[in-house]
Protein backbone atom coordinates (compact mmCIF):
# COMPACT_ATOMS: atom_id res chain seq x y z
CA UNK A 1 0.00 0.00 0.00
CA UNK A 2 2.73 2.44 1.03
CA UNK A 3 4.65 1.79 -2.12
CA UNK A 4 1.90 3.08 -4.34
CA UNK A 5 1.50 6.23 -2.23
CA UNK A 6 5.14 7.16 -2.59
CA UNK A 7 5.06 6.37 -6.28
CA UNK A 8 2.08 8.67 -6.79
CA UNK A 9 3.73 11.43 -4.79
CA UNK A 10 6.98 11.05 -6.71
CA UNK A 11 5.31 11.20 -10.10
CA UNK A 12 3.22 14.17 -9.05
CA UNK A 13 6.24 16.10 -7.83
CA UNK A 14 8.24 15.29 -10.94
CA UNK A 15 5.38 16.26 -13.21
CA UNK A 16 4.79 19.53 -11.40
CA UNK A 17 8.47 20.30 -11.38
CA UNK A 18 8.90 19.54 -15.08
CA UNK A 19 5.89 21.61 -16.06
CA UNK A 20 6.69 24.56 -13.78
CA UNK A 21 8.20 26.66 -16.58
CA UNK A 22 4.95 26.28 -18.46
CA UNK A 23 2.69 26.83 -15.45
CA UNK A 24 4.56 29.92 -14.33
CA UNK A 25 5.39 31.24 -17.77
CA UNK A 26 4.18 34.70 -16.88
CA UNK A 27 5.68 34.73 -13.39
CA UNK A 28 9.45 34.45 -13.70
CA UNK A 29 9.81 35.45 -10.06
CA UNK A 30 8.22 32.16 -9.00
CA UNK A 31 10.68 30.25 -11.16
CA UNK A 32 13.50 32.29 -9.69
CA UNK A 33 12.55 31.36 -6.15
CA UNK A 34 11.96 27.73 -7.06
CA UNK A 35 15.38 27.52 -8.66
CA UNK A 36 16.99 28.97 -5.56
CA UNK A 37 15.07 26.53 -3.38
CA UNK A 38 16.26 23.61 -5.49
CA UNK A 39 19.83 24.85 -5.27
CA UNK A 40 19.48 24.61 -1.51
CA UNK A 41 17.63 21.30 -1.60
CA UNK A 42 20.68 19.61 -3.11
CA UNK A 43 23.10 20.20 -0.21
CA UNK A 44 20.26 19.33 2.17
CA UNK A 45 20.13 15.92 0.47
CA UNK A 46 23.77 15.56 1.44
CA UNK A 47 22.97 16.49 5.02
CA UNK A 48 20.05 14.05 4.95
CA UNK A 49 22.31 11.23 3.91
CA UNK A 50 24.66 12.14 6.71
CA UNK A 51 22.22 12.89 9.52
CA UNK A 52 18.89 11.38 8.52
CA UNK A 53 20.34 8.04 7.56
CA UNK A 54 23.76 7.78 9.23
CA UNK A 55 23.08 9.83 12.33
CA UNK A 56 25.97 12.29 12.02
CA UNK A 57 25.39 16.01 12.58
CA UNK A 58 27.56 18.33 10.50
CA UNK A 59 27.37 22.04 11.24
CA UNK A 60 29.84 23.06 8.56
CA UNK A 61 28.45 21.51 5.41
CA UNK A 62 28.14 24.71 3.44
CA UNK A 63 31.91 24.79 3.54
CA UNK A 64 31.93 21.77 1.24
CA UNK A 65 29.29 23.43 -0.93
CA UNK A 66 31.68 26.31 -1.20
CA UNK A 67 34.52 24.09 -2.38
CA UNK A 68 32.34 22.71 -5.15
CA UNK A 69 31.07 26.19 -5.96
CA UNK A 70 34.43 27.88 -6.26
CA UNK A 71 35.98 24.94 -8.14
CA UNK A 72 33.22 24.80 -10.73
CA UNK A 73 33.09 28.59 -11.02
CA UNK A 74 36.83 28.93 -11.56
CA UNK A 75 36.90 26.12 -14.11
CA UNK A 76 34.07 27.59 -16.10
CA UNK A 77 35.09 31.21 -15.80
CA UNK A 78 38.86 31.12 -16.02
CA UNK A 79 39.47 27.85 -17.84
CA UNK A 80 36.43 27.97 -20.06
CA UNK A 81 35.51 24.42 -19.21
CA UNK A 82 32.02 23.29 -20.18
CA UNK A 83 29.36 22.76 -17.53
CA UNK A 84 29.24 19.00 -17.09
CA UNK A 85 32.94 18.28 -16.52
CA UNK A 86 33.28 21.42 -14.38
CA UNK A 87 30.41 20.29 -12.20
CA UNK A 88 31.80 16.77 -11.86
CA UNK A 89 35.23 18.05 -10.93
CA UNK A 90 33.63 20.39 -8.42
CA UNK A 91 31.83 17.44 -6.88
CA UNK A 92 35.02 15.40 -6.78
CA UNK A 93 36.87 18.31 -5.18
CA UNK A 94 34.33 18.76 -2.41
CA UNK A 95 34.02 15.01 -1.97
CA UNK A 96 37.78 14.77 -1.74
CA UNK A 97 37.98 17.47 0.92
CA UNK A 98 35.17 15.67 2.73
CA UNK A 99 37.22 12.50 2.64
CA UNK A 100 40.29 14.26 4.01
CA UNK A 101 38.30 15.90 6.79
CA UNK A 102 36.41 12.73 7.58
CA UNK A 103 39.40 10.48 8.08
CA UNK A 104 40.67 12.12 11.27
CA UNK A 105 37.35 13.49 12.48
CA UNK A 106 34.91 10.61 12.17
CA UNK A 107 36.42 8.61 14.97
CA UNK A 108 35.32 11.32 17.42
CA UNK A 109 32.26 10.82 19.53
CA UNK A 110 29.10 12.70 18.60
CA UNK A 111 29.49 15.90 20.71
CA UNK A 112 33.05 16.35 19.55
CA UNK A 113 32.33 15.48 15.94
CA UNK A 114 29.67 18.18 15.79
CA UNK A 115 32.04 20.81 17.14
CA UNK A 116 34.85 19.81 14.80
CA UNK A 117 32.56 20.11 11.77
CA UNK A 118 31.63 23.55 12.99
CA UNK A 119 35.29 24.50 13.26
CA UNK A 120 36.10 23.07 9.83
CA UNK A 121 33.21 24.99 8.30
CA UNK A 122 34.49 28.21 9.87
CA UNK A 123 38.03 27.61 8.69
CA UNK A 124 36.81 26.95 5.15
CA UNK A 125 34.81 30.18 5.28
CA UNK A 126 37.87 32.09 6.45
CA UNK A 127 39.84 30.61 3.57
CA UNK A 128 37.16 31.63 1.06
CA UNK A 129 37.21 35.09 2.54
CA UNK A 130 40.96 35.58 2.59
CA UNK A 131 42.58 33.70 -0.27
CA UNK A 132 42.02 36.69 -2.52
CA UNK A 133 44.12 35.45 -5.38
CA UNK A 134 42.04 32.30 -5.79
CA UNK A 135 38.61 33.11 -4.48
CA UNK A 136 38.48 36.85 -4.95
CA UNK A 137 38.30 37.39 -1.22
CA UNK A 138 35.30 39.03 0.35
CA UNK A 139 33.98 40.28 -2.98
CA UNK A 140 34.11 36.82 -4.43
CA UNK A 141 34.00 35.91 -8.08
CA UNK A 142 31.60 37.88 -10.21
CA UNK A 143 30.72 37.18 -13.80
CA UNK A 144 30.41 33.42 -13.74
CA UNK A 145 29.14 32.22 -17.10
CA UNK A 146 25.99 30.19 -17.55
CA UNK A 147 26.31 26.80 -19.25
CA UNK A 148 26.43 26.83 -23.05
CA UNK A 149 23.34 26.12 -25.10
CA UNK A 150 22.57 22.49 -25.61
CA UNK A 151 21.20 21.13 -28.88
CA UNK A 152 19.91 17.67 -29.68
CA UNK A 153 18.71 17.62 -33.26
CA UNK A 154 16.10 20.34 -33.51
CA UNK A 155 15.60 20.56 -29.78
CA UNK A 156 17.35 23.52 -28.20
CA UNK A 157 17.96 24.31 -24.57
CA UNK A 158 19.43 27.52 -23.37
CA UNK A 159 20.36 28.35 -19.81
CA UNK A 160 20.63 32.12 -19.75
CA UNK A 161 16.99 32.74 -18.91
CA UNK A 162 15.46 31.95 -15.56
CA UNK A 163 13.20 29.33 -17.06
CA UNK A 164 16.08 27.75 -18.95
CA UNK A 165 18.31 27.52 -15.90
CA UNK A 166 15.38 26.36 -13.82
CA UNK A 167 15.03 23.36 -16.10
CA UNK A 168 18.71 22.55 -15.75
CA UNK A 169 18.50 22.84 -11.99
CA UNK A 170 15.39 20.69 -11.96
CA UNK A 171 17.17 17.95 -13.90
CA UNK A 172 20.25 18.06 -11.68
CA UNK A 173 18.10 18.04 -8.54
CA UNK A 174 16.04 15.13 -9.80
CA UNK A 175 19.22 13.18 -10.49
CA UNK A 176 20.56 13.96 -7.01
CA UNK A 177 17.30 12.79 -5.42
CA UNK A 178 17.44 9.72 -7.60
CA UNK A 179 20.93 9.02 -6.33
CA UNK A 180 19.71 9.45 -2.77
CA UNK A 181 16.93 6.94 -3.35
CA UNK A 182 19.32 4.48 -4.94
CA UNK A 183 21.72 4.69 -2.02
CA UNK A 184 19.15 4.68 0.74
CA UNK A 185 17.12 1.75 -0.57
CA UNK A 186 20.18 -0.45 -1.00
CA UNK A 187 22.24 -2.65 1.28
CA UNK A 188 24.51 0.35 1.73
CA UNK A 189 21.60 2.42 2.99
CA UNK A 190 20.54 -0.35 5.34
CA UNK A 191 24.03 -0.50 6.79
CA UNK A 192 24.05 3.26 7.24
CA UNK A 193 20.75 2.99 9.06
CA UNK A 194 22.16 0.34 11.34
CA UNK A 195 25.06 2.66 12.18
CA UNK A 196 22.58 5.38 13.08
CA UNK A 197 20.51 3.11 15.28
CA UNK A 198 23.22 1.21 17.14
CA UNK A 199 26.89 1.37 16.23
CA UNK A 200 27.98 -1.41 18.56
CA UNK A 201 25.33 -3.72 17.16
CA UNK A 202 26.14 -2.81 13.57
CA UNK A 203 29.78 -3.58 14.24
CA UNK A 204 28.93 -6.92 15.81
CA UNK A 205 26.92 -7.81 12.72
CA UNK A 206 29.81 -7.14 10.38
CA UNK A 207 29.45 -3.48 9.42
CA UNK A 208 32.71 -1.58 9.12
CA UNK A 209 31.29 1.44 10.88
CA UNK A 210 34.16 3.81 10.15
CA UNK A 211 34.28 2.98 6.44
CA UNK A 212 30.55 3.49 6.13
CA UNK A 213 30.63 6.80 7.98
CA UNK A 214 33.52 7.97 5.82
CA UNK A 215 31.78 7.00 2.60
CA UNK A 216 28.58 8.71 3.69
CA UNK A 217 30.53 11.81 4.69
CA UNK A 218 32.45 12.02 1.42
CA UNK A 219 29.31 11.41 -0.65
CA UNK A 220 27.37 14.04 1.28
CA UNK A 221 30.23 16.51 0.82
CA UNK A 222 30.27 15.81 -2.92
CA UNK A 223 26.51 16.32 -3.13
CA UNK A 224 26.84 19.57 -1.19
CA UNK A 225 29.47 20.61 -3.73
CA UNK A 226 27.00 20.07 -6.56
CA UNK A 227 24.46 22.24 -4.75
CA UNK A 228 26.98 24.98 -4.16
CA UNK A 229 28.02 24.93 -7.81
CA UNK A 230 24.43 25.19 -9.03
CA UNK A 231 23.79 28.10 -6.69
CA UNK A 232 26.74 30.20 -7.82
CA UNK A 233 26.01 29.39 -11.46
CA UNK A 234 22.48 30.58 -10.91
CA UNK A 235 23.47 33.77 -9.13
CA UNK A 236 26.34 34.20 -11.58
CA UNK A 237 28.59 35.09 -8.67
CA UNK A 238 30.34 33.31 -5.83
CA UNK A 239 30.78 35.05 -2.50
CA UNK A 240 32.04 33.76 0.87
CA UNK A 241 28.92 34.88 2.70
CA UNK A 242 27.00 32.19 0.83
CA UNK A 243 28.98 29.61 2.72
CA UNK A 244 29.28 30.91 6.23
CA UNK A 245 28.12 29.32 9.48
CA UNK A 246 24.56 30.63 9.32
CA UNK A 247 24.13 28.98 5.93
CA UNK A 248 25.35 25.65 7.27
CA UNK A 249 22.94 25.97 10.14
CA UNK A 250 20.13 26.76 7.70
CA UNK A 251 20.80 23.44 5.97
CA UNK A 252 20.17 21.62 9.22
CA UNK A 253 17.05 23.69 9.85
CA UNK A 254 15.69 22.86 6.41
CA UNK A 255 16.32 19.18 6.89
CA UNK A 256 14.79 18.95 10.35
CA UNK A 257 11.75 20.99 9.40
CA UNK A 258 11.24 18.98 6.23
CA UNK A 259 11.87 15.67 7.92
CA UNK A 260 15.24 13.98 8.44
CA UNK A 261 15.37 10.40 7.25
CA UNK A 262 12.70 10.91 4.61
CA UNK A 263 13.56 10.92 0.93
CA UNK A 264 11.60 14.10 0.17
CA UNK A 265 12.45 15.71 3.50
CA UNK A 266 15.12 17.93 1.90
CA UNK A 267 12.70 19.11 -0.78
CA UNK A 268 9.95 19.95 1.68
CA UNK A 269 12.40 21.71 3.96
CA UNK A 270 14.06 23.75 1.24
CA UNK A 271 10.78 24.83 -0.32
CA UNK A 272 9.39 25.64 3.08
CA UNK A 273 12.41 27.64 4.14
CA UNK A 274 13.18 29.48 0.92
CA UNK A 275 10.10 29.55 -1.23
CA UNK A 276 7.14 29.88 1.10
CA UNK A 277 8.23 33.06 2.87
CA UNK A 278 9.00 34.73 -0.46
CA UNK A 279 5.53 33.97 -1.68
CA UNK A 280 3.95 35.02 1.58
CA UNK A 281 5.81 38.32 1.44
CA UNK A 282 6.62 38.07 5.13
CA UNK A 283 9.18 40.46 6.51
CA UNK A 284 12.56 38.84 6.82
CA UNK A 285 12.79 38.98 10.60
CA UNK A 286 9.27 37.83 11.26
CA UNK A 287 9.77 34.90 8.94
CA UNK A 288 12.81 33.88 10.91
CA UNK A 289 11.07 34.31 14.25
CA UNK A 290 8.29 32.12 12.93
CA UNK A 291 10.80 29.48 11.90
CA UNK A 292 12.34 29.70 15.33
CA UNK A 293 9.05 28.75 16.91
CA UNK A 294 8.57 26.00 14.34
CA UNK A 295 11.93 24.61 15.38
CA UNK A 296 11.02 24.69 19.06
CA UNK A 297 7.78 22.88 18.36
CA UNK A 298 9.63 20.31 16.32
CA UNK A 299 12.32 19.79 18.94
CA UNK A 300 9.77 19.16 21.67
CA UNK A 301 6.85 17.59 19.87
CA UNK A 302 7.65 16.53 16.33
CA UNK A 303 11.29 15.60 15.87
CA UNK A 304 10.46 13.97 12.57
CA UNK A 305 9.48 17.24 10.94
CA UNK A 306 6.76 17.80 8.40
CA UNK A 307 7.16 14.47 6.63
CA UNK A 308 7.07 12.67 9.96
CA UNK A 309 3.97 14.48 11.09
CA UNK A 310 2.26 13.72 7.78
CA UNK A 311 3.18 10.06 8.09
CA UNK A 312 1.84 9.99 11.64
CA UNK A 313 -1.44 11.53 10.50
CA UNK A 314 -1.77 9.02 7.68
CA UNK A 315 -1.31 6.16 10.09
CA UNK A 316 -3.77 7.53 12.57
CA UNK A 317 -6.33 8.11 9.83
CA UNK A 318 -5.89 4.66 8.35
CA UNK A 319 -6.30 3.18 11.78
CA UNK A 320 -2.95 1.49 11.87
CA UNK A 321 -0.72 1.32 14.86
CA UNK A 322 0.85 4.73 15.26
CA UNK A 323 4.31 3.42 16.05
CA UNK A 324 6.43 4.84 13.31
CA UNK A 325 8.94 2.89 11.32
CA UNK A 326 11.43 5.26 9.77
CA UNK A 327 11.21 4.28 6.12
CA UNK A 328 11.12 6.49 3.11
Amino acid sequence: MRLSYSLIVTVAILAFGALAPVIFKTQPYVLYVLTLALCYAIPVVGVNLLYGYTGLVSLGHMGFAGIGAYTTALLMKSAGMPFLPALLIGAIASGGVGLLVGIPCLRLRSHFFIVVTLAVGMILYTLFNNLDSITGGAEGLPGIPRPQRFSLGSWNMEFRSVSGFYTLTFIVTALVFGLQTLLVRSDFGRSLSSVRQDEALASARGVNVFAHKLTAFALSAAIAGVGGAMKVLFLRAAAPLSFELQESINLIVMLIVGGAGYLIGPLVGAIGFIALPEFLRAAAELRLVFFGFVLLVIARLAPRGICGTVELLFRKLSGKDASVVRHS
Binding site: E285, V289, G292, I298, A299
Partner: protein, 291 residues
Protein backbone atom coordinates in the same frame (compact mmCIF):
# COMPACT_ATOMS: atom_id res chain seq x y z
CA UNK B 1 57.59 45.30 21.84
CA UNK B 2 57.12 44.68 25.52
CA UNK B 3 54.43 47.34 25.68
CA UNK B 4 52.61 45.77 22.76
CA UNK B 5 52.69 42.41 24.48
CA UNK B 6 51.51 43.89 27.77
CA UNK B 7 48.67 45.68 26.01
CA UNK B 8 47.53 42.48 24.37
CA UNK B 9 47.85 40.59 27.63
CA UNK B 10 45.42 42.98 29.29
CA UNK B 11 43.08 42.85 26.31
CA UNK B 12 43.35 39.11 26.27
CA UNK B 13 42.66 38.83 29.97
CA UNK B 14 39.61 40.99 29.53
CA UNK B 15 38.17 39.13 26.56
CA UNK B 16 39.18 35.92 28.23
CA UNK B 17 37.16 36.91 31.27
CA UNK B 18 34.12 37.44 29.07
CA UNK B 19 34.67 34.02 27.53
CA UNK B 20 34.98 32.58 31.03
CA UNK B 21 31.54 33.92 31.94
CA UNK B 22 30.00 32.22 28.93
CA UNK B 23 32.05 29.08 29.28
CA UNK B 24 31.13 28.65 32.94
CA UNK B 25 27.46 28.79 32.08
CA UNK B 26 27.82 26.32 29.24
CA UNK B 27 29.95 23.90 31.20
CA UNK B 28 27.56 23.94 34.17
CA UNK B 29 24.59 23.19 31.94
CA UNK B 30 26.48 20.45 30.19
CA UNK B 31 27.89 18.92 33.34
CA UNK B 32 24.61 18.90 35.24
CA UNK B 33 22.14 18.28 32.44
CA UNK B 34 24.16 16.92 29.51
CA UNK B 35 22.69 19.72 27.44
CA UNK B 36 24.77 21.65 24.93
CA UNK B 37 23.17 25.07 24.79
CA UNK B 38 24.15 26.73 21.54
CA UNK B 39 21.76 29.57 22.30
CA UNK B 40 24.08 30.90 24.99
CA UNK B 41 25.33 33.54 22.59
CA UNK B 42 21.94 35.20 22.16
CA UNK B 43 21.39 35.10 25.90
CA UNK B 44 24.67 36.95 26.26
CA UNK B 45 23.40 39.42 23.70
CA UNK B 46 20.09 40.22 25.37
CA UNK B 47 22.03 40.66 28.59
CA UNK B 48 23.59 43.62 26.86
CA UNK B 49 20.28 44.90 25.54
CA UNK B 50 18.59 44.58 28.94
CA UNK B 51 21.47 46.41 30.60
CA UNK B 52 21.00 49.21 28.09
CA UNK B 53 17.27 49.19 28.75
CA UNK B 54 17.67 49.33 32.52
CA UNK B 55 20.44 51.92 32.31
CA UNK B 56 18.59 54.38 30.15
CA UNK B 57 15.02 53.81 31.23
CA UNK B 58 14.97 52.57 34.81
CA UNK B 59 18.05 53.49 36.75
CA UNK B 60 21.01 55.58 35.76
CA UNK B 61 23.26 53.30 37.73
CA UNK B 62 25.40 50.98 35.68
CA UNK B 63 26.04 48.39 38.43
CA UNK B 64 22.31 48.16 39.12
CA UNK B 65 21.61 47.75 35.43
CA UNK B 66 24.01 44.84 35.31
CA UNK B 67 22.37 43.23 38.30
CA UNK B 68 18.85 43.69 36.94
CA UNK B 69 19.99 42.28 33.63
CA UNK B 70 21.41 39.23 35.38
CA UNK B 71 18.20 38.70 37.30
CA UNK B 72 16.11 38.95 34.15
CA UNK B 73 18.33 36.43 32.44
CA UNK B 74 18.08 34.11 35.41
CA UNK B 75 14.29 34.18 35.13
CA UNK B 76 14.49 33.58 31.40
CA UNK B 77 16.83 30.70 32.08
CA UNK B 78 14.37 29.03 34.41
CA UNK B 79 11.60 29.34 31.82
CA UNK B 80 13.78 27.94 29.04
CA UNK B 81 14.87 25.03 31.17
CA UNK B 82 11.35 24.09 32.14
CA UNK B 83 9.71 24.61 28.78
CA UNK B 84 12.39 23.35 26.46
CA UNK B 85 15.58 21.82 27.68
CA UNK B 86 14.51 19.62 30.56
CA UNK B 87 12.83 17.21 28.16
CA UNK B 88 15.76 17.17 25.73
CA UNK B 89 18.36 16.03 28.16
CA UNK B 90 19.69 12.98 26.40
CA UNK B 91 18.86 14.13 22.90
CA UNK B 92 21.72 16.04 21.34
CA UNK B 93 20.29 16.59 17.84
CA UNK B 94 17.07 18.06 19.22
CA UNK B 95 19.06 20.23 21.62
CA UNK B 96 20.74 21.69 18.57
CA UNK B 97 17.39 22.19 16.87
CA UNK B 98 15.91 23.87 19.93
CA UNK B 99 18.98 26.06 20.37
CA UNK B 100 18.75 27.11 16.73
CA UNK B 101 15.09 27.90 17.20
CA UNK B 102 15.86 30.08 20.20
CA UNK B 103 18.60 31.87 18.32
CA UNK B 104 16.24 32.63 15.44
CA UNK B 105 13.52 33.87 17.76
CA UNK B 106 15.66 35.96 20.05
CA UNK B 107 18.03 37.41 17.49
CA UNK B 108 15.33 38.39 15.05
CA UNK B 109 12.99 39.44 17.82
CA UNK B 110 15.66 41.86 19.00
CA UNK B 111 16.04 43.25 15.48
CA UNK B 112 12.28 43.75 15.34
CA UNK B 113 12.11 45.59 18.66
CA UNK B 114 15.35 47.50 18.78
CA UNK B 115 16.12 47.73 15.08
CA UNK B 116 19.21 46.42 13.35
CA UNK B 117 21.44 49.35 14.25
CA UNK B 118 23.84 48.94 17.14
CA UNK B 119 23.25 50.62 20.47
CA UNK B 120 25.84 52.63 22.24
CA UNK B 121 25.98 52.65 25.98
CA UNK B 122 28.38 55.11 27.50
CA UNK B 123 28.97 54.56 31.13
CA UNK B 124 31.42 56.41 33.32
CA UNK B 125 33.62 53.38 33.49
CA UNK B 126 34.02 53.46 29.75
CA UNK B 127 34.71 57.13 29.52
CA UNK B 128 37.35 57.20 32.20
CA UNK B 129 40.79 56.01 31.30
CA UNK B 130 43.62 54.37 33.15
CA UNK B 131 47.12 55.12 32.07
CA UNK B 132 49.88 52.54 32.47
CA UNK B 133 53.09 53.77 30.98
CA UNK B 134 52.40 54.80 27.41
CA UNK B 135 49.25 52.74 27.20
CA UNK B 136 45.77 53.78 28.13
CA UNK B 137 42.93 51.47 28.96
CA UNK B 138 39.39 52.14 29.94
CA UNK B 139 38.38 51.47 33.49
CA UNK B 140 35.78 49.09 32.11
CA UNK B 141 38.42 46.64 30.97
CA UNK B 142 39.68 46.24 34.51
CA UNK B 143 36.15 46.26 35.86
CA UNK B 144 35.43 43.25 33.67
CA UNK B 145 38.47 41.37 34.86
CA UNK B 146 37.71 42.17 38.48
CA UNK B 147 34.01 41.33 38.27
CA UNK B 148 34.67 38.01 36.57
CA UNK B 149 37.33 37.14 39.10
CA UNK B 150 34.86 37.87 41.86
CA UNK B 151 32.20 35.84 40.09
CA UNK B 152 34.53 32.87 39.77
CA UNK B 153 35.35 32.99 43.47
CA UNK B 154 31.69 33.31 44.36
CA UNK B 155 30.81 30.39 42.12
CA UNK B 156 33.55 28.30 43.67
CA UNK B 157 32.32 29.01 47.16
CA UNK B 158 28.75 28.32 46.07
CA UNK B 159 29.61 24.99 44.48
CA UNK B 160 31.83 23.84 47.32
CA UNK B 161 30.26 25.27 50.45
CA UNK B 162 26.53 25.47 49.96
CA UNK B 163 23.94 22.71 49.91
CA UNK B 164 22.61 23.76 46.56
CA UNK B 165 26.05 23.88 45.04
CA UNK B 166 26.87 20.46 46.38
CA UNK B 167 23.59 19.20 44.98
CA UNK B 168 24.66 20.52 41.59
CA UNK B 169 28.00 18.78 41.78
CA UNK B 170 26.38 15.55 42.88
CA UNK B 171 23.88 15.62 40.05
CA UNK B 172 26.59 16.19 37.49
CA UNK B 173 28.75 13.38 38.77
CA UNK B 174 26.15 10.74 39.43
CA UNK B 175 22.54 11.62 38.63
CA UNK B 176 20.95 8.45 39.95
CA UNK B 177 22.83 8.49 43.22
CA UNK B 178 21.92 12.15 43.69
CA UNK B 179 18.25 11.31 43.41
CA UNK B 180 18.65 8.47 45.87
CA UNK B 181 20.06 10.78 48.55
CA UNK B 182 17.08 13.04 48.16
CA UNK B 183 18.23 15.71 45.75
CA UNK B 184 15.45 17.03 43.56
CA UNK B 185 16.96 16.96 40.07
CA UNK B 186 14.43 19.35 38.57
CA UNK B 187 15.28 22.00 41.12
CA UNK B 188 18.97 21.52 40.38
CA UNK B 189 18.36 21.87 36.67
CA UNK B 190 16.42 25.10 37.14
CA UNK B 191 19.07 26.61 39.39
CA UNK B 192 21.82 25.57 36.99
CA UNK B 193 20.12 27.21 34.06
CA UNK B 194 19.35 30.30 36.08
CA UNK B 195 22.97 30.72 37.13
CA UNK B 196 24.31 29.97 33.67
CA UNK B 197 22.01 32.47 31.97
CA UNK B 198 22.72 35.10 34.60
CA UNK B 199 26.43 34.71 33.92
CA UNK B 200 25.86 35.00 30.18
CA UNK B 201 23.74 38.09 30.69
CA UNK B 202 26.44 39.59 32.88
CA UNK B 203 28.89 39.04 30.04
CA UNK B 204 26.75 40.96 27.61
CA UNK B 205 26.09 43.71 30.15
CA UNK B 206 29.79 44.06 30.86
CA UNK B 207 31.04 43.94 27.28
CA UNK B 208 28.24 46.05 25.83
CA UNK B 209 29.46 49.49 26.95
CA UNK B 210 32.97 48.72 25.82
CA UNK B 211 32.16 48.12 22.17
CA UNK B 212 28.62 48.23 20.89
CA UNK B 213 25.41 46.39 21.59
CA UNK B 214 24.16 44.65 18.48
CA UNK B 215 22.23 41.50 17.65
CA UNK B 216 25.18 39.41 16.56
CA UNK B 217 27.43 40.36 19.45
CA UNK B 218 27.10 37.00 21.15
CA UNK B 219 27.86 34.79 18.17
CA UNK B 220 31.64 35.05 18.29
CA UNK B 221 31.95 34.78 22.07
CA UNK B 222 29.69 31.73 22.08
CA UNK B 223 31.97 29.91 19.67
CA UNK B 224 35.00 30.88 21.72
CA UNK B 225 33.29 29.72 24.89
CA UNK B 226 32.38 26.43 23.23
CA UNK B 227 35.98 26.02 22.20
CA UNK B 228 37.02 26.85 25.74
CA UNK B 229 34.93 24.17 27.37
CA UNK B 230 36.08 21.57 24.87
CA UNK B 231 39.71 22.45 25.27
CA UNK B 232 39.31 22.62 29.01
CA UNK B 233 37.28 19.43 29.22
CA UNK B 234 33.55 19.12 28.73
CA UNK B 235 32.45 18.77 32.34
CA UNK B 236 35.22 20.64 34.05
CA UNK B 237 34.73 24.03 35.70
CA UNK B 238 38.47 24.75 36.13
CA UNK B 239 38.84 23.69 32.51
CA UNK B 240 36.30 26.26 31.41
CA UNK B 241 38.11 29.00 33.32
CA UNK B 242 41.55 28.13 32.03
CA UNK B 243 40.18 27.50 28.55
CA UNK B 244 38.36 30.80 28.43
CA UNK B 245 41.26 32.84 29.71
CA UNK B 246 43.69 30.94 27.55
CA UNK B 247 41.73 31.51 24.41
CA UNK B 248 41.32 35.19 25.17
CA UNK B 249 45.02 35.69 25.76
CA UNK B 250 46.24 33.55 22.87
CA UNK B 251 43.78 35.28 20.57
CA UNK B 252 45.00 38.71 21.54
CA UNK B 253 48.67 37.83 21.44
CA UNK B 254 48.28 36.22 18.03
CA UNK B 255 47.27 39.56 16.52
CA UNK B 256 50.88 40.64 17.00
CA UNK B 257 52.10 37.99 14.61
CA UNK B 258 49.21 37.12 12.31
CA UNK B 259 46.79 39.34 10.35
CA UNK B 260 43.61 39.90 12.35
CA UNK B 261 41.53 38.17 9.68
CA UNK B 262 43.01 34.89 10.76
CA UNK B 263 42.64 35.48 14.48
CA UNK B 264 39.63 33.21 14.76
CA UNK B 265 41.37 30.58 12.68
CA UNK B 266 44.07 30.28 15.31
CA UNK B 267 41.50 29.40 17.95
CA UNK B 268 39.70 26.95 15.70
CA UNK B 269 42.93 25.33 14.67
CA UNK B 270 43.81 24.79 18.32
CA UNK B 271 40.32 23.43 18.88
CA UNK B 272 40.63 20.97 16.03
CA UNK B 273 44.05 19.84 17.19
CA UNK B 274 42.72 19.30 20.68
CA UNK B 275 39.78 17.31 19.37
CA UNK B 276 41.99 15.10 17.27
CA UNK B 277 44.69 14.52 19.83
CA UNK B 278 42.97 14.79 23.19
CA UNK B 279 39.19 15.11 22.83
CA UNK B 280 38.54 14.88 26.53
CA UNK B 281 40.33 18.17 26.98
CA UNK B 282 42.90 19.33 29.48
CA UNK B 283 40.92 18.46 32.58
CA UNK B 284 38.31 16.10 31.25
CA UNK B 285 38.00 12.44 32.11
CA UNK B 286 38.75 9.94 29.40
CA UNK B 287 35.78 7.68 28.85
CA UNK B 288 36.32 4.33 27.24
CA UNK B 289 34.26 4.39 24.09
CA UNK B 290 32.29 1.63 22.47
CA UNK B 291 33.75 -0.70 19.86
Amino acid sequence: MATAIFEQLINGAMMGSIYVLMALGMVLIFGVMQVLNFAHGVLFMIGGYFADLFFFHVTGSYPLSVIFSMLSLALIGIVLERAIFRALRQNLPMQIVASLGLILIIQNGVIQFWGPAALQMRTSSVSSLVKIGQLSFTVQQFVIIAVVAAAVVTLYLFLMRTRLGTAMRATSQHPEAAVVVGINPNRVYSITFAIACALAGAGGALLGPLFLIFPQMGDGPMLKALSAIIIGGMGSVPGAIIGGLGIGIIESLSTLAIPTDYRDTVVFAILILMLLLRPWGLFGVRVRGEC
